[in-house]
Amino acid sequence: MNLENQNPLLETSETSGKPTVRIIAVGNAGDALLSGLAAHDFAGAEFVAINTDAVALADTTAKVKIHLENKLFRGLGSGGDPDRTKAMAEEQFSTLKSACAGANVVFILAGLGGGAGSGISPVLAKAAHEAGALVLAFVTLPFECEGNRREAQAQVALESLKTAADGVICLPSQKTFKLIDENSTLVETFRVTGGFLIEGVRGVWSLLTRSGLIQVHFSDLCALIRDRHAENAFAFVEASGPGRAREVTEKILNHPLLDEGRALAESDAVLVSLTAGKDLTMAEINRVMEQVKRQCVHAQIIMGAAADGALKEKLCVTIIAAKQNVVPPSVAPRADHRSPATMVSAQREPALSRTRKRGAVAKAVQGQLPLSIVSKGRFDKSEPTLHRGEDLDIPTFIRRGVALN
């Protein structure tokens, strides 16, 4: 526990008029993201790493390191059990809280699914919230191939993180498959997936800190995400050259992470940040914003624009679309693969599949009580014809309970 390290940190926080941003990485995935972040310019941000794995923690570049420890683990990590780490984090709640003290905004970086990320992040979010900071979590969900257990743990953690943090920006890793060349290596894949999140962090970061032509104030961001407990979809696109405004618009509307623009249509608050070289024109801003506005009819739009000499010819746009956490009941059962799953619904799926499964299980139990096994005759060996939880291969008169004789 490196509590003493935090004091100098707290003192520097009040110096500038800009909001103090603290970036806290949780778990191994968080550490990896953090080292990715370090490659970019984040002047003024304070990095903190929290982990249960002492070895991984030693490797990070963060200034402040918090090692959550338990005798049982011997500093080797949590063994992928979020319940343990959660208990541990709650035990050391005050440590976490003091790590967040003094910050206006806390970014939590984590990979959900494992032990540390899933267990600690929600507790940390709560601690940061209590310390008075605005909490934005940037998390990844595991790839499908990582197994059901991790998937389930990640979903549970995501749900609790959503209630604890002000905003969760979530990237289901599976989604990025489409964006990655099939032959890319594992390292590259992780780099790209992490890259998306880092872009998101960078986008929000530059919104808050860079002096803009059209400034987004810290309060705007607060207003957008505070207490919404929203699910957010985000995208970062860039283009250069004379037709860059047009190109950027097209990229936004086709962006897979925004579900080809559908996420925009469903959102109720959208934050757009444009950054370009000194040659950024009003017409370009107008052109991009016009299309975005057209896409999200119902949403409150916050836009910011900044000029950055380093970008030269490039025009970068970061979009964060927030959607309130309400599921219209009529939509819920139809969110199967028949309707193209949106990013938002991809996150919502666990709850749905859980309820659906419950229904299906109830039916299955009914049909397969050991005493009343119904032979399907000709269809015994073929794939069952399931339709809304009913096995249509079983004779209709049996399913409907029509008594003959």
Binding site: F177, R246, T249, E250, L253, N254, D259, E260, G261, R287, Q291, R294, Q295, H337, R338, S339, P340, A341, V374, S375, K376, G377, R378, F379, S382, E383, T385, H387, L392, D393, P395, T396, F397, I398, R400, V402, L404, N405
Partner: protein, 407 residues
């Protein structure tokens, strides 16, 4: 290739039979059915291949028969596919018109169609058809040709039919193994609708139901475009299986009973009536209650229609079907089926007949051949469109055709 390009064959590998219809397209594009071949299908369940070797054997029999009858060599076929894995849904594509003068160009149309086709399918699925419905320009609905119009936002509705890629590929490979080329893969439901419906009926709105041996496909046309489609892996086999289970007779016997005594609406007269099953020596084996038989069957068929009706209700299409319901496929031979369907759908129901083609009347009249005839028709429409779209190529081809002697 030029000399036989006017021969079009449609192949349907069904659960109960494999059938091929051969058509000949004359210079005007009119279609004449000149041959058909069929054989019992043994390697297919619920519309999907379970035993490729048997299917290949049956397929060769059918091809041979069709070639004999039409006196042509079949080189390529339009292949109909079905199965419970096939689904259809509507998707809307959006494209901002960003050109300075706001005039919609062909590029914009291509882009919006591309956007509409880019959908989130499960990784193992592939698109079979993407059918364009209508365009919207700045929210104005029902536009069929937007090129040259002014607007800021172009949208298009597409009906996308997709299915499991490997299962579809299995059938294609099977057909290729018999040294036939596959011109195109077509969803059976679309082919059937093509065979049964006239343009007027498509405009009015119609539901086509094809009740096959292992699957039932349905397609809804309204305002001249496909609005909805789907396939249920329930068919005539299920009726037989229900009977075998309910009456406790072997499947082959149930099949016979279905054909002989089956009906879609239980009759009062049959209630309590029994019949005896005898073996080849005339000894009685079992007595069967005809009333039960009819009820088991009616329940299954009623449920089948109800499932489709529910689906349409959810899609909000029930009020669009002004031309009514058209039923075909082997299942439509069940007596009283029209009456049953009228009860369920509460609208006009007709047994469909292949229209707008000429040729063998035996083929045209049978409801089982509607799909294969539709496949031939699909091929002929495609040929015609190809000829029209590539005028240069068409012209060249015309020149070649005139130069080369035809046999």
């Amino acid at each position: 290739m030029f000399d036989d390009s006017n021969i079009i064959a449609g192949l349907e590998i069904g659960t109960s039979k494999i059938c091929i219809v051969v058509g000949e397209q004359n210079a005007d594009g009119a279609l004449n059915i000149i041959g058909l071949g069929q054989s019992r299908s043994r390697g297919v369940r619920k519309g999907e291949v379970i035993n490729p070797e048997q299917v290949e054997e049956d397929l060769r029999t059918a091809i041979f028969e069709a070639e004999q009858m039409a006196d042509v060599e079949i080189r390529s076929v339009y292949l109909g596919v079905s199965g419970g894995h096939i689904r259809g849904f509507n998707n809307r594509g959006v494209h901002p018109v960003v050109s300075a003068d706001r005039e919609i160009s062909q590029d914009d149309v291509d882009d919006v169609v591309k956007n509409a086709k880019a959908i989130n399918l499960p990784a193992e699925n592939t698109v079979i058809h993407a059918v364009r419905q209508h365009f919207f320009v700045d929210g104005q609905a029902g536009i069929t040709q937007p090129v040259g119009m002014l607007g800021a936002r172009l949208e298009v509705d597409m009906h996308v039919i997709h299915g499991h890629a490997n299962r579809l590929q299995n059938v294609v490979r099977l057909v290729r193994a018999t040294s036939l080329e596959v011109d195109d893969v077509v969803f059976n439901g679309i082919a059937t609708a093509l065979a049964l419906l006239t343009n007027e009926q498509k405009e009015l709105g119609a539901l086509v139901i094809d009740i096959g041996g292992g699957t039932t496909e349905f397609v809804v046309y309204a305002d001249g475009v496909i609005r909805h489609s789907g396939a249920l892996a329930v068919g005539g086999d299920h009726v037989s299986n229900d009977l075998a289970y309910g009456l406790k007779v072997p499947l082959s016997r149930a099949e016979k009973l279905k054909l002989e005594y089956g009906t879609a609406i239980p009759s009062e007269a049959a209630k309590g009536q029994t019949l005896s099953i005898t073996n080849e020596l005339g000894l009685e084996l079992k007595r069967i209650n005809v009333g039960h038989l009819q009820r088991i069957m009616a329940l299954r068929l009623e449920e089948l229609f109800q499932l489709i009706a529910q689906d349409l209700e959810q899609a909000g299409l029930t009020d669009y079907l002004r031309a009514g319901v058209f039923i075909c496929g082997g299942g439509s031979r069940v007596p009283g089926l029209v009456q049953l369907a009228e009860n369920v759908f509460q609208m006009n129901v007709t047994l469909g007949q292949a229209s707008a083609v000429s040729g063998l009347t035996t083929a045209l009249e049978q409801p089982e051949f509607a799909t294969a005839i539709g496949l031939v028709k699909y091929g002929s429409l495609k040929n015609r469109r190809r000829a029209a779209s590539t005028t240069l190529m068409g012209g060249l081809k015309g020149v070649f055709n005139r130069m080369l002697p035809r046999n």
